[in-house]
Assembly symmetry: C2
Homo-oligomer: 147 residues x 2
């Protein structure tokens, strides 16, 4: 899958008139290994070869190329994950205390029910090209233990 990932990403970037540089590869692999949205501070702390301005610029480039997605959070800084096209449709378990996120999947059956129902609702409201975003908010084990 890793090889595939590199090839796919390179192609996407090329299409967008951009290069697949070592730094961008590092970013991609960092996100790929995380299996959950990673915050900018985490990225900067981890691979300390990565310069702040370059990280922001490259994440923006990758986002434009459609291989990375910015995830909105309640916290003050952004988190990024690989696009669903690359890692598949999923949802997030979010700790409302410490902010950590974890990827989760829900039964295919529930996804189908959701899509059917939500499509109907969206259509009625005049919305097109609808997808859904479902998050679970709660207290992670660590934070619950401290409370």
């Amino acid at each position: 899958m890793s090889v595939d990932l590199d090839t796919t990403v390179e192609a996407r970037l090329r299409d967008a008139g951009q290069r697949y540089t070592p730094q961008r590869r590092d970013l991609l692999h960092l996100l790929a290994q995380a299996a959950s949205p990673v915050s900018i501070p985490q990225i900067l702390a981890d691979g300390d070869e990565l310069k702040q301005s370059s990280v922001y610029r490259n994440l923006a480039a990758l986002e434009q190329a459609g291989v990375v997605r910015r995830v909105p959070t309640d916290e003050e800084y952004g988190r990024y994950e690989l696009a669903e096209e690359l890692i598949g449709h999923h949802h997030h378990l979010v700790c409302s205390n410490c902010g950590t996120m974890r990827d989760v999947e829900v039964p295919a059956e529930l996804e189908q029910t959701l899509d059917r129902t939500l499509d109907r609702i969206a259509k009625r409201a005049g919305f097109a090209r609808v997808e859904h975003r479902l998050d679970l908010l709660g207290l992670c084990g660590t934070c619950a233990a401290m409370a």
Copy 2:
């Protein structure tokens, strides 16, 4: 309902050691009439009696008192809505182009299925006190027409 709202909010603020001032009442009513999360710029544009720093401070106060909720968005500024306790559980229809939001409700049956399934998932992951957030992302009628 409006009278009820004022009374409830006043009580909540009092409990938090804060007052229910005219400015806070205005904010509340603005949010109550919107029936969808309102952005700071919208608030400032609308009631131009409201000073920026006061709006931020008061929204924070109201949030702490649990009568208002900050909604995370993809955009650069925050949106606020009344707490679900006051207006009921609901979800959002979000235009991924222009960012406007609209409240929607889904069938009670789906809500139940969701809660049951998600509770199980959360428990398995060691999360406590879980609730869900479900958004619909698409193109609103206006933006779809322009595309």
